[in-house]
Amino acid sequence: MGAKNSLVGLTVVEIRDGLRNGDFTVRELVDDHIHAAERAKNLNGYITETPDLAKDMASKSDDKISRQELGSLEGVPVAVKDLFCTKGIRTTAASKILDNFVPTYESRVTENLWGAGAVLMGKANMDEFAMGSSNITSAYGPAINPWKRESDGDDLAPGGSSGGSAALVSAGVVPAAIGTDTGGSIRQPAAFCGVVGVKPTYGRCSRWGTIAFASSLDQAGPITRSVHDAAIVLEAMSGHDRRDTTSVDRPVPQFEKFLSQSIKGLKVGIPKEYLSDSLPTEINKLWGDGGLWFKESGAELVDISLPHTKYALPSYYIVAPAEASSNLARYDGVKYGMRVSDKSLEQQYSKTRGSGFGPEVKRRIMIGTYVLSAGYYDAYYIHAQKVRRLILEDFNSAFKKVDIILTPTTPNESFGLRDKLDDPVAMYLNDIFTVPASMAGLPAISVPCGLSGTGLPLGLQLIGPAFEESRLFQFGEKLERAAEFSKKPSSYVG
């Protein structure tokens, strides 16, 4: 324990064991992570840091430990995507329009974390209102991927929208972070940053106090450096909430128990529609490797078809913007947030929203408003919701034949922060493999499994049936063990 920052880089499991054994105090742990944040400042992973609060929470945590009262996340420093309302702490959704918003209430998910003993290190950077796949749309500047290509020193995108959360975990600044996933916003940045990300079943976590983007798709989830850690964090986050009637009243399993369960004789589905001519060879190869690893563990590979896969993304880009256009109508400068004053109420609305929202948010609100407007509702929104049912039915049929589905997480590796800036659709295509599970409300995990030719992380995705997150951990652990992904990014501060 001599080196100054030896506590940085510990996993959640190691922290749990260390605190139980009295190897260090929470205060020491938190102090080290505060220093780590300073060293990684250039990653711009945080929008708001909370070192004083963290120290205070650490002291309280040490008190609890002295009384042998340890929660499942006792003393664990976490970063929280700035989309979760934290009481008394500025919450911005990475938008100018909420730059000065301080909630008087705590989101259910973060309340669960503090109840389990976790310590808040800060609010993590993200794409504005969770709309994006790069963290470029944040009003506070992009978060930067701790990974760099072997060939150059370009700043790369950490992915999005939970880019800050993934970057912070990847760089070792925190052992765990929470994000939200609407179309891939946990899994895709996790894959880009070489860490684990989980989107649970829709309804597994409460959405109360989580700033809404697309109500029928949003779900909170953990980002960690190991599958085991993700199981622990997800269990702490989950649970029914009477204030969110879309949250389900089901007991939360002890996810950790499933990590060591054998997958012998179980079936892994390989959907043919995820293979296309444009899929980079190295990703296809990694996907194949994943299948082989499962076979080596005793599972059987089964070819399946999810025929409506390619329609998931365009239908998502009708449903999500439509819901968002309505969810974001409350940002009007009247009750909270930024206001551009004007003598006319209508001008005040338009100017406030015109300058408070960034370009991507405006685009999506416009699309959403358009597809819901008179004359277009049936043609777009209803049509997209019908396609959505077909996507769900594809998965339901597949899960009659297999126990889990294996796909690549993304069709690409991380890209330069300056790339892909001019074409929104090209950016949307980042989510082509993650969106189908979102539209069907199914749980999915991304596990870092390999490196691209340029030395950037690549992830594989597992999709399970509804409420079978345990299967994600059961299979995910095998993938992680076989992949032996241990490389750390160049900006790692552990």
Binding site: N100, V102, T104, Y105, Y202, G203, S216, R242, T245, T246, D249, H308, K310, Y311, P314, S315, Y317, I318, S325, A329, G333, V334, K335, Y336, G337, R339, S341, K343, L345, E346, Q347, Q348, Y349, S350, K351, R353, G354, F357, K362, R363, I365, M366, I367, G368, T369, Y370, S373, Y380, I382, H383, A384, Q385, K386, V387, R389, L390, D423, P424, V425, A466
Partner: protein, 95 residues
């Protein structure tokens, strides 16, 4: 699907987002691109299908008729850019 400037302007009005005159055409272009890409959904035969509005297979949960909230005027109005005596203030609306 090609949107023209006028449509963009009226959509912007519906969602109360100010778009400067010079930005109308670029916005129309961007939105048209997105909508054209979405058009591929027409290929899907949805004739036998009901729309899916929720992936949750559950009953709508209800609550009892008890007063267990409110009485937090300071919290409600506390973040408002303009308020007085616990009223929100906005520019006067003429009807």
């Amino acid at each position: 699907m090609d949107l023209d400037k006028e449509t963009v302007a009226s959509v912007a009005k519906l969602c109360r987002i100010e778009i400067q005159e010079q930005d109308l055409t670029p916005m129309a272009q961007e939105l048209s691109n997105i909508l054209s890409w979405i058009e591929q959904l027409r290929e899907v035969d949805v004739s036998s299908c009901e729309p899916l509005s929720s992936v949750v297979e559950a009953e709508l949960k209800m609550r009892d008729d008890t007063v267990m909230d409110g009485d937090l005027a300071e919290d409600v109005v506390g973040n408002a850019p303009d308020s007085t005596n616990n009223y929100f203030l906005v520019p006067k609306v003429i009807e």
